[in-house]
Structures are given as structure tokens and as C-alpha cells.
Symmetry: C2
Subunit: 392 residues, 2 copies
Amino acid sequence: MENFNFYSPTEFVFGQNRENEAGFYVKKYGGTKVLLHYGASSAKKSGLLDRVIQSLTKENISFVELGGVQPNPHDSLVYKGIELCRKENVDFILAIGGGSSIDSAKAIAIGVPYDGDFWDFYSGKSPKKALPIGTILTIAAAGSEGSGDSVITKEDGMLKRGTGGDCLRPKFSILNPQLTCTLPAYQTACGATDIMAHIFERYFTNTPEVEVTDRLCEGLLMTMIKETPRVIVDPNNYQARANIMWAGMVAHNNIVGVGREQDWNSHGIEHELSALYDCAHGAGLAVIMPAWMEFVMHHDVMRFAQVATRVWGCKMNFANPEVTAKEGIVRFRQFLKSIGMPINFAELGAKESDIPQLVKTFGIGDGTTGGFVHLSAKDIQSIYEIAAKATL
Amino acid sequence: MENFNFYSPTEFVFGQNRENEAGFYVKKYGGTKVLLHYGASSAKKSGLLDRVIQSLTKENISFVELGGVQPNPHDSLVYKGIELCRKENVDFILAIGGGSSIDSAKAIAIGVPYDGDFWDFYSGKSPKKALPIGTILTIAAAGSEGSGDSVITKEDGMLKRGTGGDCLRPKFSILNPQLTCTLPAYQTACGATDIMAHIFERYFTNTPEVEVTDRLCEGLLMTMIKETPRVIVDPNNYQARANIMWAGMVAHNNIVGVGREQDWNSHGIEHELSALYDCAHGAGLAVIMPAWMEFVMHHDVMRFAQVATRVWGCKMNFANPEVTAKEGIVRFRQFLKSIGMPINFAELGAKESDIPQLVKTFGIGDGTTGGFVHLSAKDIQSIYEIAAKATL
């Protein structure tokens, strides 16, 4: 295990009807003038926004609104939000939605007190100061409610880039599983895939002797494998939604990823897909991650055999562990298919002929990535090619 | 799953040589005059105290010392600490040691800004204000480094009582597994038993649909079962020590216990043993917890069968799940014995003839406890009796 710091100061407010306490928590964490930042009209239609506003009003907290966050949130709305917050003297940002709303809120939060262009932080600069933010989560997926990370797409060139820092960790996050019950099955499955990917990105490591985080990761994966099909069949299953929602936070606040080298290449490779096709991040991951697994499996067959036996319930083939390792990847793809995810380019709506462009935008040039297996441009191309043609 | 709040704002500073950063972190969290609070002479002899003082001096932080914390820390030293802090205008308490030093530090921290007797907080009052504390952990056991809990023994009557509140959560906790390598095998095993007990106290619940926390608890238990024997055989096994140390924190900051009714009766029943005999808390738990399991098993045989199969690797007896459930408890006791723990009163140094006194001090009267199974005084007596006579 490697040395590490772990810091997750967010107060998680979990359970039924908790969004009615939004005003209490904004006040608790010092907010007096709030930017309500959200995405599609669903927050309005469902009455969620009204309940939140009522809760703020009860605490005499004033607010301004900025809706319209898109999936794979764009920089143009971030600039608009920064301007609005400055003009209105906003001192607290409350994101209502999923990872996109939260990531957009985080970008605004670092942009407001910064003199330069907020994109600097998405080009390598470390954020040190931000407006405080809170979140009300409406989809279990990105884990942004418990992380210090944010991913934004720059419209000029459709560059999808991330940043991270402790100042971006929400002061509080309200997680009410009820709010996720109205999600269509496809979005629910995309979220579940994203959560599983966050675990796998941590799981595949070269760091030896990480039993505790291995076991925690495996526990989360088994939870997702049990609970996801239940909500696909029965979207109103509160208990399954609740288990998934907490798993989604734990999977990404990094308590199960500390002290180990992590990978994150599948996320990077997927980002090019969702940036180019504006597809759901989770759907892109469903296509990319098993392909990445096939490509890198021989780097550590026993780790793949371990997850196959411990998580997917495969019988260990002691004579030929590779058989078990491969079986685990097949089970993963079968699982993704069973919850309605695409497993190849055609099902995702991506084109094999775009692969050269995807590799180019990935921008690795003559270098390699870091992580479990360091990937060259050629390797990345191979992974896209495996993903393009994948079948069961 | 039930509604809950989860808040764990402590910064964990984990790994080799991290105690040399103590001064940096005290300063980061606003300390200018520190009380160094520790137990036995080992912190002095090992050079740990010198390294911490050097680190404070480097940051121009002044300090006073109060050593002498005993296992099952007493109220008398707490009063001394409160007086010293007030006299010296201490604004930060740094605990060096295990759960005892940390719990004693927490008691001092709530006592200093309080006009009345600090014992009020151990008699039902909720602490709302405390001096900030930091910890440098030297044994993986109590989990106090990541919790808002504290347990103190009142010398008058040898009453062992606890309190808890967010203001008692450490600002930072330095966890260097190297510092635990010099622990004798017995203390190491006591610590491991305490960690496993913290998990079981959360695991046995009447709350349905808690797959995510079940799986996380099981992952931690499997980690302890793998890693503990390794450090008993090889005390200097840094990696096994590291896995145990992180498991100890995760087991007790409650991230694996949220949203579910918890038990904690074994802890209560054990507290009477360690208060009366001044035995190690972990050793007392090794005697009590399997006895408690035998007593309550029929309340939910399938939950006991679940842990037996998922954690202890028993084969499920589908015709008679009780057989599997019992096998899990036997495996637990075998495990405790294998790491050198006592499994009955004689091995612990307790007397069967004291049972009426233990039950009386427990103080349940005509009522019952809460938790997984509500226990009457008669039930508690039965558990002590099972524990007294236990064999393999």
C-alpha cells in the first residue's frame, strides 16, 4: 500500500424527503445568496425545484436560477454562471441534478473568485479556492456529489477535460433515492455502468498488498450486480435505488481507492466518444471498458481471475487462469447487455471510421498514458477497434 | 435502508514517516499551543515523541505534555488535562497513542470550553463544542481516530461510559502502520478483535435491504481474517499492518454502518469486564462476542448463515441453515483462539462468581437494551454464563 491522504469532509444527507432540508444545510454552511444550478426541465416539472425553493425561502435565503445544464456540460454555460454569480453577489452554489449539473456548478465555483479564465483549471492548474457548493442528487452515477472532481467540455474543439481539488468537495450533498425513481431505465443503467467503471478504474492496479481496498471494491461491485437489475425491472424499488445511490458515492469519494495506483484510461478513452457523439458517458463506458479489459488482461491475469471468481462467481480454472480471467470479462459484458447497455460502436451510434479522429483528439501523440498498462496511441486505437466490433 | 447523515471530515494522513508532518497539520488546522497527550512510556522510548516535538518546533508551535493515559482511560487524568489546558491556554490537543489516548484527549477537548463537569457528557448530555484535536495512532483497534466517539471510566464506581458528537471528530489523524510494528502480538490481536467487533456490531441488524453496507462489512471482515494472522507471525509485516490500519478506520467512521440499526450490546456487556478487571477491551470482546452470537443466533439464522458462507467460507447447509450459522460462530472463535485471544472467563482472568455483580453494574434494571435483540438483565446474565464456560 502506498502513502496517501484521504479527506472527504462532505456532509451526506441521505434518505426520503431530505431535499426539504436544503435551506437548513445551505444556512448551516454559510450561504445567504444561492445560485440554483440545474439541467433539464425535469427538476421543474417534478416539483423538486419548487420544494427546494420553499425550503430556501423558509430560511430567508435568496436565490437566482441558472438552468439548462446539458449532459457533458459545456464551458459556455459555465461562463454565463460565473458572470451571473458575480453580478448577483452569490455566495453559495446549489447544484440540482446529476454529475453534469454538479460538475458545471464546481466549474462556476472555481471561476467566480478567479481573475483569469476558469478553463485554466481544466488545462493543468490546481484549484485552491472556490465558492462553497451543495448538491441535490437526482441520478446515481458520476459520484461527483462526494468527490473533488469536475469534467467540462470546451465547445471549441469539443475537448472534454477534468480538474480536481479539495476546495471542490461539496459542503453537503442531499441523496434522496426517491428522486431517482423517475429515471428512464436507460439512464439508470448508464449511471450504474459509470459507478461500476469508477470501481474498476481503482481495482486494476499494479500496487501490491491492497487487500482492504480490493475487498471494499469487490463488495461494491457485488452490490451493483445485485441491485441494478432490480431497478431496471422495477424503477420504483426504493431499497435497490438506495443501495445503488450509496454505492455510487462510496465508489468515488476514493475511500476504496486510496493507497493504490489507479488506472482511468477507460474514462479517458470514453471521453472522446461522449465528446464527439454526445452519447451518455455510462453508455460509452459500457462499450470501452470491457474492450480495455480484453486488451490489458495479459498484464495481470491473476487480478482478472480474482475479480472473476470473487465478484462474478466464476469457478477458478487453476490449470488455466486465463480462461477464468476471460470469463469474468464476458460476464461483465453480458451484465451490461442485460441492463440495456450498448456493447459495441454500432449499438452506441459510433462509427469505426472515426477511430483515427478519436485517437487524434485523445492527444497522446508519441507518448503513453499512465495507469495499470501505459497505453500508446496505437494501443488506444486497438482498444477502440476491439470496442467497435465487440459481440457476446 | 433507513435515512441517515454521514459526516467524516477528518483528514487522514496515512503511511510511512507521516508523523514527521504533525507540525504541518497542527498549523493547518489552527493550533498554536498544543497539549501532547499520550500513554505509556513507549512513545518516549521509541523516539516517536521526540520526532513529533521536532515537527512542532519546526513550525514554531509551542506545547505542554500530559502523559500517563491508561488503558480504559480514567476521569482523574481528564480533570488534570482540562486544568492544564486552561492554565496554559492550549488551543489544540494532539493525542499520541491508541483509543485510550484519543478518547482521553476527546474528553479533555469537550471539558475545556465547558463550565460544568465534563462527566455530564458521559451521562447523557450531547457535546456541541470542543477544542480541535489531532491524533497520531499507534495501534489499530478502537477506530477513535476517525470517529466522534469517546469512552471514559469514572474511578468512583468504575463506571465505563461513552459519548459522541461531530465536534469530537479529529481534524486530522496520522496513521503510520510502522508505528504499530513494535506492538506485542497480544495487543495486536486485541486490536484486531476490536476492529472485527466494530464491524459485527453494525452487521447484525434488523434493517432489511442493506446490501451495500453488508458487502462492505464483509469485505472488511475478510481483510481482517487474511491480514491478522500475518502480523501475529511477522510483526514487522508493514503491508499487513497497513491493510489492518485502514480497515480499522473504515470499520468505525461509520461509512459501512449507515442506514441500518446497529447492535452494540457486546460492547456494553464487555465494558463491564474491562471496567472490573482492567483487561484489554479486545480480549473482553473475544470472550463476549461469540457468546452473544450464540445467544441471539435464532433471532435471524439466515443472517448468521450469510456471514458464515460469505465471510468464513462455510458451505451453506440448505436443509438446515442453523448448522451453517453455528459453524460461522465456531470459525470466529477458532480464529480468535488462533491469534492468541482468550475465549472464556478463565482465560481472560474473569470469575464466574462475579456475574451477578457484572449484571448489576450493567444497570439495565427491569428494562431491556436496544439493538438486534433487546436484552433483559436475565439475557445478559445468560450471555456472561455462556462466555464464562465457552470452549472450542
